[in-house]
């Protein structure tokens, strides 16, 4: 088994695949990349049992064969090379030898048969999406997902394909983001929950990509295919909470404000907030928004005033500044709207401008009850 490949081309692909590999594997074989050579096509795969990702690379070769190569060692080696063709040659003594312009390097390889084979998705449904749209959907929702092992469904992003729209939802019960595209529909409604890790991998590869992504899925697994890459993963098992029911319908108080100004105010004021609750207080009356924070434990406090456009009753409401910052940061619009009803009901953030046709973003954030009210 012998092939020749460009060093940087290989490195670029392996770095993506390397993201699948866990740092502490119970199965040593998972510390390897699986190489499957078929003449001019080399398929490289990595897996953590839950997620398997593979990429097909073009190489110069007349051979066939399969081996598992230590991932960390190979990545470190490739990083150290300037761009050049490398020759990989499988030797008899259970090593694979890399020849570069500078010299020779031998890596002990493992048996390819030990490497887990990815699941076959039977009775699959199918949807096609532009790469960048999927990446944006992931990017908008994944930060809102939870990390609570007691509620694993909330640790993933909910994918819901309906006849009216594609909907993506992330929530940790404190905040919620719903990203929907009414410009893409399906005639076969379906829904599933994607775990975080493969989503982060997809987001990294797909951002800005105009290529189509084919999504095949059944009850337990999903497969994403695009360009030369395939990612198969197990879905999160369970029922996603009824997110529509928690979005308040009646929100008479509407604040419209410059996103960047509001964000930098929140950032400054939050430095003075209590380190446990991160609570900041928004007091809105007329066209003035008063943002304040106080940490009673250290007698620190801060207060800022911003002019805003406000329609509704005078209102004082507390929010976790971390959540607000995350949400404001995630949006890209110039202006945002916050719709509110009562100090104990969720506030709804939406961008005013900058959306594509058919693109909708709704962000919910639950308040922090004010202590001395």
């Amino acid at each position: 088994m012998k092939f020749i490949i460009s060093s940087t081309y290989m490195l670029k692909n392996l770095q993506t695949l390397g993201g699948v590999i866990n740092n502490n594997n119970t199965m040593p074989i998972l510390d390897n990349f699986l190489f499957e050579l078929n003449h001019n096509s080399l398929k490289i795969s990595s897996s953590d049992l839950e997620t398997t990702m593979s990429a097909k690379l073009e190489v110069e070769s007349n051979d066939e064969g399969e081996i598992a190569v230590p991932a960390r060692l190979l990545l470190d080696t490739l990083k150290a090379f300037p761009e050049q063709p490398l020759t990989f040659h499988k030797l008899d003594n259970h090593t694979i030898e890399i020849s570069s312009e500078q010299g020779k390097y031998a890596l002990a390889y493992a048996n390819a048969d030990d490497f887990p084979t990815p699941v076959n998705i039977e009775d699959a449904s199918e949807t096609v999406l532009v790469g960048d749209i999927l990446a944006t959907a992931i990017n908008k929702t994944i930060f809102a997902t939870g990390n609570d092992d007691l509620r694993p469904v909330m640790n993933g992003v909910f994918f819901r394909f309906t006849e009216e729209a594609l909907i993506f939802v992330g929530t940790d019960a404190h905040k919620l983001v719903k990203y929907s595209r009414t410009d893409i529909k399906t005639d076969k409604p379906a829904e599933f929950i994607m775990p975080k890790k493969p989503l982060n991998l997809l987001k990294g590869v797909l951002l800005g990509s105009e290529e189509d992504v084919q999504i095949e899925f059944n009850e337990s697994n999903a497969k994403f295919s695009f360009e030369n890459v395939e990612l198969t993963c197990r879905l999160v098992d369970g029922k996603y909470p009824n997110y529509e029911a928690v979005i308040p319908k009646e929100n008479p108080n509407v604040l419209t404000i410059d996103r960047a100004l509001f964000l930098s105010s929140v950032r400054r004021v939050s430095i003075f907030s209590n380190k446990t609750t991160h609570q900041i207080r928004l007091k809105i009356a007329g066209a003035e928004l008063n943002i304040s924070a106080e940490d009673l434990d250290y007698s620190n406090k801060a207060e800022e005033r911003l002019t805003c456009d406000y329609q509704g009753d005078d209102l004082t409401i507390g929010f976790n500044s971390k959540f607000l910052t995350e949400m404001l940061n995630n949006l890209t619009s110039d202006e945002i709207k916050i719709k509110m009803s009562l100090p104990n009901r969720a506030g709804i953030l939406t961008p005013v401008d900058g959306l594509e046709q058919g693109e909708h973003i709704t962000m919910l954030v639950m308040p922090v009850m004010l202590g001395n009210q």
Binding site: L150, A173, H174, N274, T276, T277, G318
Partner: protein, 386 residues
């Protein structure tokens, strides 16, 4: 033997026993005990009672003597004795009603004096406390002198006498404080500890009550020296888990620290009804009140609990408890009621009820957690109602 020493306490004692430099780890513990505290306070406040045989409490029909003055003790009057019996032993005995508020007041003054010396103060009751003066605020090396000073200060500030015992652990200090009582003190220095324990009557050992005492006597153990002759295996065979404790204690090993605050284990409230109730709806209404009280107490103490217990006392005085451990700490009335309701309807009520109670245990008294909850109780991050 070694296997048995690998439980927590056992392992520690083994370290002390075998390898640690004994001297370096010696602590200086003072046990301060007020002399006939309640009775002395009464004599202090009413000089006409001075020098007289006096009993606090015990005057009512079924009353029990809470404390007796030294004059009364001479006649054999002891605390926990029925008033009737005390009057028989000492016909001229004067009975006084206890005034706990006043005792508490004085106890506070005394505690303040302790804190001038060290922050490691473990109050046992209103009239006794352990002080760890190994490191003290005056950096003074002699615990004996400190004890004398503390006793003098108590005398000048309150006019009351205190006795003290000074030694290397709580148990020996406590035994020692009894030796020169009243108004005296006794130091058992490290080098005398072993000899002191060997001559000590087995009844005086920490953890030896009436039952254990009888058992010890039957096994031919009358003094520390007798106890010391027994092997650990032998003691564990006869006394189970406590065997190791006795084995250690007689060798001067008693690692119990001076605990500055007793950690609360549970918190709750209960109500006895003037008339027994049998309707569950009526019970729920009562439980609402109790839950509100529990919430108030939880907030005052700034704790939350994970295990909720519903206590039911039936008209025949039999008591039933139903409890449940939750995944999260709860402290609010709404959540307490939610769980209480499930517990109430868990199984049918078999009889009419005279008392209902709700308590929370498994409290988050661990410091890091309590800081967190106190903040959350004040400024609560709300959740989406999934």
């Amino acid at each position: 033997m070694f296997k048995d020493c690998f439980n927590h306490e056992g392992f520690l004692s083994l370290c002390v026993f075998l390898s640690m430099d004994f001297r370096e780890h010696l602590r200086k513990i003072i046990h301060v005990d007020m002399d006939a505290f309640y009775a002395s306070v009464e004599q202090l406040d009413d000089p006409s009672l001075k020098g007289k045989a006096l009993a606090v409490g015990g005057s009512s029909k079924r009353g029990v003597v809470a404390a007796a003055s030294y004059e009364a003790r001479k006649h054999g009057v002891k605390s926990a004795m029925s008033g009737k019996q005390a009057a028989r032993l000492c016909p001229h005995l004067i009975f006084v009603r206890p005034r706990f508020e006043r005792y508490k007041d004085i106890s506070q003054q005394i505690r303040k004096i302790f804190f001038e010396y060290t922050d490691l103060v473990e109050p046992l009751s209103l009239d006794e406390a352990y002080l760890d003066v190994t490191v003290n605020k005056f950096n003074f090396p002699s615990a004996t002198v400190l004890a004398r000073e503390i006793r003098e200060k108590i005398k000048t500030k309150t006019g009351l006498n205190a006795s003290a015992g000074i030694s290397i652990n709580k148990f020996i200090a406590k035994v020692a404080s009894d030796i020169n009582k009243p108004n005296g003190q006794k130091t058992i220095p490290p080098e005398d500890v072993i000899a002191f324990l060997e001559q000590l009557d087995i009844r005086k050992f920490y953890g030896v009550g009436k039952v254990t005492q009888d058992k010890m006597y039957r096994l031919g153990i009358f003094t520390g020296a007798d106890l010391k002759l027994k092997t650990l295996d032998y003691l564990q065979e006869h006394f189970g888990k406590s065997g190791l404790h006795y084995y250690n204690v007689v060798r001067g090993i008693h690692l119990s620290e001076v605990k500055t605050s007793r950690i609360r284990k549970s918190l709750g409230a209960e109500r006895t009804f003037s008339e027994n109730i049998s309707s569950e709806i009526y019970m729920l209404a009562k439980l609402e009140d109790i839950a509100e009280e529990v919430e108030r107490r939880l907030k005052t103490s700034r704790v939350a609990g994970k295990t909720i217990t519903l206590k039911l006392k039936y008209s025949d005085f039999s008591v039933q408890t139903r409890s449940k451990t939750l995944k999260l700490f709860i402290a609010s009335k709404a959540l307490i009621m939610e769980e209480t309701r499930t517990l109430l309807y868990q199984e049918p009520i078999k009889d009419s009820i005279r008392l209902l109670g709700i308590s929370l245990s498994n409290l988050n008294t661990d410091q890091s957690k309590s800081v967190k909850t106190s903040a959350i109780l004040k400024e609560e991050q709300l959740k989406l109602p999934f």
